[in-house]
Symmetry: C2
Subunit: 180 residues, 2 copies
């Protein structure tokens, strides 16, 4: 029986922080760099700022034009999709305004994936796959299978997970050799 | 550890067929009764009709005003939610236009459920709960836990599943005694 892999979207496939940095600076008249944002998570915002910022990213188009985080992901996910049941598992319930933008983004950038394998959820304890690739230690802890932590500055101190730095390393973990 | 239950939406919580019958008759100038529709599934439509009909039900508001299928569901789901981790698992990827209507419908009719436990998916093989209550034998076969078939005329001939007829029976299955 084929094994299965669930893949998170934001900060694993899609570059959320790059647009978030620009958007946040505009909304709060700050001048923080993308690198400074990458030391923090949205949970670090004070409550009033968080409410305002979530309203902005909940706009229907916010997630539609995010860049692909790592160009290698296209080829690696395509290869994985040949050998595994690949699901996309994104915590979209935090930003219900994003549903259609996320759906359309996946159709554009990963058109070879089956839309029946998209999962818009909250708590990833509900995901029944052999592997989950995610940047969130909280979600990987809730998940019942083998977690793979997508390395980001804000999770650099976290221990106890298999850690991968980019999609080339994910390919290596699953014995995929990139052609380029 | 608490056990977990996933609950389908259409034709388990929401009365999809009642609105579908009216909508279909208007679109195709037919005069079929709700009972006649309940002998069939959308998979029985010929391809051209299916394309046209899916475009209609994919309109953003189609799923927003469905009636609650069985009034007992409110109390039973509330009781289940006290004792189990209750998830809502709906095959929304068939009708991506429905995402926000389904989210808002759940917020209105089952406001006590945690939105983090909503799952909009396709193939329910990905759902990791102990139970799944669903009207689709195909989804229950894909699901890895204990399936519970919500009885409908179009699945009446299917054998091999625990079958429940309405939410009072679901309550009994989980030892819940309704107060009314």
């Amino acid at each position: 029986m084929r094994k299965s892999i669930a893949i998170d979207m934001d900060q694993v496939l899609a570059n959320f922080y790059k647009k978030m940095a620009v958007t946040y600076n505009a909304a709060f008249q700050t001048n923080l760099t993308e690198e400074e944002f990458l030391q923090t998570t949205l949970g670090d915002l004070d409550p009033a700022d968080a409410t305002k910022f979530f309203a902005i990213i909940n706009e229907p188009d916010f997630f539609r034009d995010l860049e692909v985080l790592d160009a290698d992901s296209i080829e690696v996910v395509r290869e994985l999709n040949e050998r595994f049941d690949v699901y996309i598992a994104t915590a979209a319930m935090d930003v219900p305004g994003s549903f259609n933008a996320k759906y359309d983004w996946l159709r554009e950038h990963f058109p070879f994936l089956n839309t029946q394998n998209y999962v818009f959820c909250g708590n990833k304890a509900v995901i029944n796959t052999d592997y989950l690739i995610d940047d969130s230690p909280r979600q990987l802890t809730a998940f019942k299978g083998q977690g793979i932590l997508y390395s980001m500055p804000y999770n650099a101190e976290v221990e106890g997970f298999v850690r991968v730095r980019g999609w080339r390393e994910i390919g290596e973990y699953f014995d995929i050799v990139l052609k380029i």
